[in-house]
């Protein structure tokens, strides 16, 4: 057993590029705490992200980070996990990375059910490119690319992920740091694909009602509503309120998590390899003619 790890063990010397007041600072702090609570040493953690403000986050940790290309964090993370299922694999990105350019990968990552934790920092706007419409921007939002107001209905990340069959779905906000820390920790500990939609305010381009101050007055914990996280239908119903209500907590946790894809792959390999190990040098034998 390695000596007890503290928050400092997960903090890298790199200084975040985020604007002062960005919600992502809170996410980072909560993540340090959650990782400290889980206790895996940083070198056993692979932290994969896409592109965007929030996708810079792996570099601010001491884990093995991989800041990849826009929208492809989930496929790359699945390769990492399948290559070495012993690793703790965390994936992070923004709403654009996950639900716009990378949206096609989300249902597939979920249906495969690798043991990954996917943290989306959802700020309903493109921050890195300075304030364009995002897939979760509310209808009617005026931005530099929707000067007369958006005509599009936003995607609902919670419903999308729930409907795809994710085993753990939660929502958090930096307005409730202890709550967010606990949710990230729980997501990491969930054996299977887990998703936390983090309403992380963009201080520079975000709307007033999406700032921390507004979050504090708007947020309602699902626990306080008496929601049973084992009830998938109730979770779907509550998730419909995305964009109007700010619910925090666990929408759904599969009470009996099925075996993960990576675990099943391992099992199969063990079955196939039982008996004598196959020497790679004899791979051509099956083509040899007698």
């Amino acid at each position: 057993m390695s000596p007890a790890l503290g928050l400092g063990d997960y903090k890298s010397p790199l200084k975040p590029i985020w604007c002062p007041g960005c919600g992502d600072y809170g996410v980072l702090q909560a993540l340090y705490r959650a990782l400290g609570a889980v206790g895996r040493p940083p070198h056993e953690i692979a932290f994969v992200s896409g592109i965007g403000c929030s996708s810079r986050i792996p570099g601010y940790t001491t884990a093995y980070g991989f800041n990849t290309v826009h929208g492809r964090a989930l496929p790359i993370a699945q390769g990492v996990k399948l290559a070495n299922p012993d690793l703790l694999v965390i994936v992070a990105g923004g709403d654009g990375d996950g639900f716009s350019i990378g949206g096609g990968h989300v249902p597939h990552a979920i249906r495969r059910n690798l043991d990954l934790t996917y943290l989306v920092m959802d700020n309903q706007v493109y921050g890195l490119t300075k304030g364009q419409l995002s897939p979760t921007s509310p209808r009617g939002l005026k931005t530099v690319t929707s000067p007369l107001g958006s005509l599009e209905q936003p995607i609902n990340p919670l419903l999308t992920v729930l409907a795809s069959g994710a085993g753990f779905v939660a929502q958090a906000t930096p307005a409730d740091m202890p709550g967010m820390t606990a949710l990230i920790e729980e997501a990491i500990r969930y054996p299977g694909f887990s998703f936390v939609n983090i309403q992380s305010p963009c201080i520079t381009f975000g709307e007033e009602e999406q700032q921390l101050k507004a979050h504090k007055s708007r947020m309602k914990s699902l626990a306080s509503l008496g929601h049973d996280p084992g009830n998938q239908l109730a979770a779907l119903d509550l998730a419909r309120a995305y964009g109007t209500e700010l619910y925090t907590g666990v929408f759904y946790r599969n009470p009996s998590p099925p075996p993960t894809y990576d675990a099943l792959v391992r099992l199969r390999q063990a079955e196939i390899q039982r008996g004598e190990p196959r020497p790679r040098a004899r791979v051509l034998d099956s083509y040899a003619r007698s």
Binding site: Y64, N67, T68, Q78, N84, L284
Partner: protein, 584 residues
């Protein structure tokens, strides 16, 4: 006679391809060299089909040109494959008697076969085997009778094919075979042509390029494959899906091409040798992630089995038109090795080399195969795998890990030790963003320039890899033939013919297409005044790339055409003779 090229065409259910496979298996089991290509109509299953089989007592370099024997089960289907099954005056044309004599316009004037044999195939099959489904077995009997295709081999093939299907079916087909042999005996050809026995008739392997590539990947230590089905590379994923887990590896059929290559890059980041495979359209989709692998300096092998393009193009036919894409499809300054196999057998060596380069230089490497090599079945001499060296990526030493490990250290060779998750002390940030030696993101122009220089410097040794170039012929020859990929098999035959005619020619076949090894071309071209660059693409992509990097003598021209129809050795010879004329 030491070479026999047979082509067959028929409709679905005629068993044309199955007959070709039997012929191939019979030949290979008796120590002959053989090669088979198939062509189908556009239906997914059933419908017309054709195949051509080349059997030889010598090593077979390509599918051959004009057929020695053409077998038409009906004229409509035979005509459909006119391009794949070219006939000439020297072709023996066998046709189903019921189909009637060959239509007058079957071939242009002067190209009509002189010897046309009408055979009541269905009738013979029915009277001997009791079913007209055995008519292609009758054809095999005729080929055996006329050309000396060993009957033992054909019989073995029948046993293998029909053993499981019941004694009755095997017996029936044996009778059909005898009936064909008897037909041949009673209807001799105007001139006897018997296939000579091979000089060295040892047992051979029988496989196609995709099988060879998958096998080589396993041998080279591939532990992860991520991909998406696409013709004509899909078989690689299928074979690895079945085989790789037996060796402890994992295959992921991803939701799209991007995800496939993404997972492979992720697995490489996690420390595993990994691979993806695709064809042109998929290669286009994978491009961005390839750039990531270049910048993050992660080993990766990508197989692109080329087909007719652009876009969907002709998915079932070969073309060599992805070279520009393989070499240049990247934003930013990127150098990515591109290798091409020239035959099924060569695919093994090239695939192992691709893994070795990827691991040694921490870079994506593209293997450019093509539909012909990937899907043609060919006899291959047993491969002594012990002669291959296998390269592992440079990993940090315990000392390096203990004292402030720098993932992207700017070393003299340009290669920096590569850690992976799970390795204590090796923690770093891999990124598509420019970074300093430790991996910290940077926008510094100076660091960017130094890192670009490092990433290019590490590949500089490729300039000296003469072992990745095949040369034949006298060093001082003024005439050059340069070719790559499947066309190189035709070039080798044309070169041998040209030498036999006394042309002062030499041959260059690069395995390494990109980066262009300038010193190697300069040395080869020093004596050259005229020549050809032979390849199957409209633009002549290798020719164009060579002109970019090398001072090609003005007498060297491009002999290139759009894909689908491979070159024939005789037409290449003809062009070489014209080029030789320029020398005078």
């Amino acid at each position: 006679m030491d070479d026999l090229v047979v082509g067959l065409a028929g409709s679905g259910g005629d068993g044309v391809v199955s007959a070709g496979e039997s012929l191939l298996a019979a030949a290979s089991s008796q120590g002959f060299h053989a090669l088979m290509t198939k062509s189908f109509g556009s239906q997914i299953r059933g419908g017309e089909s054709s195949c051509r089989v080349r059997v030889s007592s010598r090593k077979v370099l390509n599918p051959g040109g004009v057929l020695d024997v053409a077998v038409a089960l009906n004229w409509e289907d035979f005509r459909r494959f006119g391009a794949e099954l070219p006939i000439g005056p020297g072709t023996v044309l066998i046709h189903e008697a019921k189909a009637g004599p060959p239509p007058a316009d079957l071939a242009p004037a002067g190209r009509m076969p002189r010897e046309v044999v009408s055979v009541p195939l269905a009738e013979l099959a029915k009277s001997s085997a009791g079913t007209d489904r055995a008519k292609t077995t009758v054809v095999l009997g005729i080929l055996s009778g006329w050309f000396g295709v060993p009957k033992e081999g054909l019989d073995r093939g029948l046993q293998k094919k029909f053993a499981q299907k019941g004694e009755g079916l095997l017996d029936a087909n044996r009778k059909a075979l005898e009936s064909g042999i008897s037909f041949a005996t009673h209807h001799p050809l105007s001139a006897t042509r018997v296939l000579g026995r091979p000089a060295v008739g040892g047992p051979k392997m029988l496989c196609d390029g995709n099988e060879m590539c998958a096998s080589a990947a396993i041998f080279a230590g591939c532990e992860f494959f991520g991909g998406y089905p696409i013709t004509p590379s899909t078989e690689v994923m299928q074979i690895l899906s079945r085989e790789l887990p037996k060796y402890g590896g994992v295959v992921l059929q991803a939701e799209d091409e991007i995800s496939g290559v993404g997972a492979a890059v992720g697995a490489s980041f996690a420390g595993r040798k990994s691979m993806t495979a695709t064809s042109g359209p998929g290669m286009s989709l994978k491009t961005e992630v390839l750039g990531l692998a270049s910048l993050a300096e992660l080993p990766l092998v990508l197989l692109d089995v080329q087909r007719g393009g652009p876009s969907t193009g002709i998915p079932t036919k070969p073309e060599q038109s992805d070279l520009f894409q393989a070499a240049f499809s990247a934003h930013g300054d990127v150098l990515r090795p591109v290798l091409a196999p020239t035959s099924v057998e060569d695919t093994f060596r090239v695939t192992v080399e691709a893994f070795n380069l990827a691991e040694r230089y921490q870079t994506p490497v593209v293997i450019l195969s093509d539909q012909e090599i990937a899907q043609r079945k060919e006899t291959v001499e047993p491969i002594d795998v012990s002669r291959f060296e296998l390269v592992e990526r440079l990993r940090p030493t315990p000392e390096q890990l203990a004292e402030g490990y720098q993932r992207f250290a700017d070393t003299p060779s340009g290669v920096s030790p590569l850690s992976h998750p799970g390795m204590a002390g090796g923690n770093y940030l891999a990124a598509g963003i420019e970074h300093d030696a430790r991996g910290a993101p940077t926008a510094s122009g100076a660091i960017h320039a130094a890192m670009n220089a490092k990433r290019f410097r590490k590949l500089a040794p490729l300039q000296e890899r003469s072992d990745l170039f095949e040369t034949q012929g006298p060093a001082d020859a003024p005439l050059a033939l340069i070719s790559w990929g499947s066309s190189a098999g035709v070039a080798r035959e044309a070169f041998a013919l040209a030498r036999a005619r006394g042309l002062p020619v030499k041959l260059l076949v690069p395995t390494l297409l990109y980066p262009v090894a300038e010193p190697i071309y300069r040395a080869f071209l020093a004596s050259v005044r005229a020549g050809l660059v032979l390849e199957l693409s409209h633009q002549g992509q290798l020719y164009r790339i060579l002109r970019m990097f090398v001072d090609l003598p003005p007498g060297v021209s491009s002999f290139a055409r759009s894909g689908a129809q491979p070159f024939r050795a005789d037409e290449v010879l003809e062009r070489l003779e014209q080029q030789a004329g320029v020398l005078r």
